[in-house]
C-alpha cells in the first residue's frame, strides 16, 4: 500500500483540472498474485474529448491499464479518477462503470442472445433490476438501442442472433452496446486485433466518428503502428508497464517506434524487406 493523502486535499487539488480532464491516473501500480508486475507506476491524464491510442507490444500492460480504469482489475497502488469520481471508492464502482463503455478484442457478446438484447445490456446499469431480469425495458431504451445499431450500420441485424454475425459486425455490436450506455469514455482493448484489415478500418472509423461527433473520450489500445498513427490524435507508448512515449500521433518517428518495441519491431521489418530482395535476385 502507498500512503494516500487525505481525500479532501486530493479533491481540492483536482478541482481545477477536473474541468478539462476526463481521466487522471497517478502512480498506478499493479502486481498480480503470481508476482508479475504489469504496471510500474503510470501517470496519465486524458483530456475530455481526446482520442488516445495506447501503443505497445503484447505484455506491455495495455489491457491491465484499461481494466484498471473501470475497476475490472483492482490496482495495487495509485489513484484513478474518472470524470471526477475515484475508481478506488468501491461504493461508486458501478457508477463509474456505467459511464465507461468498453470494447474487447474478442467482442464478448452473449452469442445466444439477439443483437438488440446485447445492445440493451448497455442499459442494464440504469434499468430497474426486476424488470430487466424479465427482459423488459422502457420503450425509450429500446429506441435508443436501435439508434445505436443504426450508428454502427447494423439496424437491419437487430433481431438476428449475435453468433450469426461476422467478426467485424460483432465488434460493431460491441460498439453499439458501449454507446447504449451514453458513456463519457469508451475504452477499447485491442478492438481490431481479431479482425481482417477492412473490418478493422471500419471499426476504427466508427470509433473516430464517435469521438469527433459525440465528444466521447476514447482510449484505444493497438499494436498496429500504421493504424495508431492514422487514427490516434495522441499516442501513448507503453513498455514493460511504464509510459515510454507520449506525443501527437502525426509526429511519431521511427525512433519513437523503436523505443516502444525495442529492436524487435524494426528487425522484423527489415528482415521482410531483405527476404523480398532475395526473392527478386
Amino acid at each position: 500500500m502507498v500512503a494516500v493523502a487525505p481525500f479532501h486535499l486530493i479533491l481540492a487539488h483536482l478541482q481545477c483540472r477536473e474541468v478539462i480532464e476526463m481521466i487522471q491516473i497517478r502512480g498506478l501500480r499493479k502486481e498480480f498474485g503470481d508476482g508479475t508486475k504489469a504496471l510500474r507506476g503510470i501517470d496519465l491524464h486524458v483530456e475530455r474529448g481526446q482520442l488516445a491510442v495506447l501503443l505497445g507490444p503484447s505484455g506491455a500492460g495495455k489491457s491491465t491499464l484499461l481494466r484498471c480504469i473501470n475497476g475490472l482489475v483492482k490496482a495495487t497502488a495509485g489513484e484513478i479518477v474518472v470524470d471526477g469520481t475515484g475508481v478506488h471508492q468501491l461504493r461508486h464502482l458501478e457508477d463509474v462503470r456505467s459511464k465507461v463503455g468498453m470494447i474487447f478484442q474478442q467482442f464478448n457478446l452473449v452469442k445466444r442472445l439477439m443483437v438488440i438484447e446485447n445492445v440493451l445490456c448497455g442499459r442494464l446499469a440504469r434499468s430497474n433490476i426486476f424488470a430487466s431480469c424479465l427482459k423488459l425495458f422502457p420503450p425509450g431504451d429500446i429506441e435508443q438501442a436501435l439508434f445505436c445499431l443504426e450508428r454502427v450500420g447494423l439496424a437491419e441485424k437487430a433481431y438476428h442472433r449475435a453468433d450469426q454475425l461476422s467478426g467485424g459486425q460483432q465488434q460493431r455490436v460491441g460498439i453499439a452496446r458501449a454507446l447504449a450506455q451514453n458513456p463519457r469514455v469508451i475504452l477499447a482493448d485491442e478492438p481490431v486485433a481479431s479482425l481482417d484489415p477492412r473490418s478493422a478500418e471500419r471499426v476504427m472509423t466508427i470509433l473516430r466518428d464517435i469521438n469527433a461527433r459525440d465528444g466521447i473520450t476514447v482510449i484505444v489500445s493497438l499494436h498496429n503502428i500504421d493504424l495508431a498513427t492514422r487514427y490516434g490524435g495522441r499516442i501513448v507508448g507503453l513498455r514493460d508497464g511504464a509510459v515510454v512515449l507520449d506525443k501527437p500521433g502525426a509526429s511519431l518517428t521511427k525512433w519513437d517506434v523503436e523505443r516502444i518495441y525495442e529492436a524487435g519491431y524494426s528487425d522484423d521489418d527489415e528482415m521482410d524487406c531483405e527476404q523480398v530482395r532475395y526473392a527478386h535476385a
Binding site: 475490472l72 445466444r112 438484447e117 442494464l124
Partner: protein, 272 residues
C-alpha cells in the same frame, strides 16, 4: 507400389521392455494389484459359477411361469402407471427448482462466498450419494405411504446430480461476456440473467430431460418401499407368486421407459 503386408510374427514394442525396466516393473505391479483386488472381492461377494449353474433350473422354472403374460390386468395397471409418470414429472420439476440456488452457489466463479460455495458443494455431494430408495424410506416414514414421498425422494436425490452439473457448466462458461457485462456497470443478478443463463441454458435443459428419464425409471421401483407408482403392483404380484402379472407389468414399464426416452429426445432436438 504395393505396400508389403505386415508380418504378424515380427512385431515389437515401440520401446523394448529391457530398455525401460522401471515401466515394465510398474506395469507388472499394477497387474498384480488388480488381480489381488479381484480375487479378494470375489471371495467377499461369494462369486460362484457352480451356484449359478445349480440355480439355472430354478430360473428356468420362474421364466416358464412368467409366460404367457396375463394382459387381463392391464386396465388395473393404468392408474399406477399414470401415477408413476406424474411422480417423475413433479420429482424432476421440484429438483430443478431446488437445483437453481444450489447450482449457482456451488459455481466457483459466481458463488457469493467461499463458505457458501463449500456448503453448497457438500449438500450436493450428500444428496447425490444417498439413493432415492433410501430417501423414499425416510419420506414414507415422515409423510406416510403414497406417491408424495416418492416425489420428494426423487427431488432430493436428483438435486445432487443436477446441481453438480449445473455448477460445473457455470464454471465452464466463457468469461468474456461476463466481464463485458460487469464493465457496463450491471448488477450481479443482471450479469447472471444476461451472460450466464444464455450460455448454460441448452446444456441445462438437456440435463434436466436426461434426469427426467432417469427419474421415470426410478419411479417404477419406488412403489416397492411404498412410495407410489407401478412398483407397488410389481412387488405385490411377486409376493403373491403371480408371475404372469409380473411379466405384464415389466412389459408396461419397458414400453413407458422407451416412450419417455423418445419424448425427451424429441424435446431436446426441438430446443437445440
Amino acid at each position: 507400389m504395393p505396400t508389403p503386408k505386415q508380418n504378424c510374427l515380427n512385431l515389437q514394442p515401440i520401446v523394448p521392455w529391457f530398455k525401460n525396466t522401471r515401466a515394465a516393473l510398474r506395469r507388472g505391479a499394477i497387474a498384480g494389484i488388480l488381480l489381488l483386488v479381484y480375487v479378494w472381492s470375489a471371495r467377499g461377494a461369494h462369486l460362484s459359477l457352480s451356484e449359478l449353474i445349480q440355480g439355472l433350473p430354478g430360473l428356468a422354472d420362474i421364466v416358464s411361469r412368467m409366460v404367457p403374460p396375463d394382459f387381463s390386468i392391464l386396465p388395473k395397471l393404468l392408474e399406477p402407471t399414470v401415477e408413476t409418470l406424474q411422480i417423475s414429472i413433479w420429482g424432476t420439476t421440484l429438483a430443478i427448482l431446488f437445483t437453481i440456488p444450489f447450482g449457482l452457489a456451488a459455481a466457483r466463479n459466481i458463488s457469493p462466498h467461499p463458505v457458501v460455495y463449500g456448503v453448497a458443494r457438500f449438500v450436493l455431494n450428500a444428496t447425490r450419494s444417498i439413493s432415492e430408495i433410501i430417501f423414499a424410506l425416510v419420506f414414507v416414514a415422515a409423510v406416510g405411504l403414497g406417491p408424495f414421498p416418492g416425489v420428494l425422494a426423487l427431488a432430493f436425490h436428483s438435486v445432487g446430480m443436477l446441481g453438480k452439473f449445473l455448477a460445473d457448466s457455470i464454471e465452464n462458461i466463457d468469461a468474456g461476456p461476463v466481464e463485458a457485462l460487469v464493465a457496463t456497470g450491471a448488477s450481479k443478478w443482471q450479469v447472471v440473467v444476461y451472460a450466464v443463463v444464455p450460455q448454460i441454458l441448452p446444456e441445462f435443459v438437456t440435463l434436466c430431460l436426461y434426469r427426467w428419464e432417469l427419474n421415470f425409471r426410478s419411479a417404477t421401483i419406488l412403489g416397492i418401499v411404498g412410495a407410489g407408482g407401478i412398483g407397488f403392483e410389481l412387488i405385490t404380484s411377486m409376493r403373491l407368486f403371480q408371475y404372469q402379472d409380473m411379466t405384464t407389468i415389466l412389459a408396461v414399464i419397458l414400453v413407458l421407459v422407451t416412450a419417455v426416452d423418445y419424448i425427451s429426445t424429441f424435446i431436446r432436438k426441438k430446443i437445440i
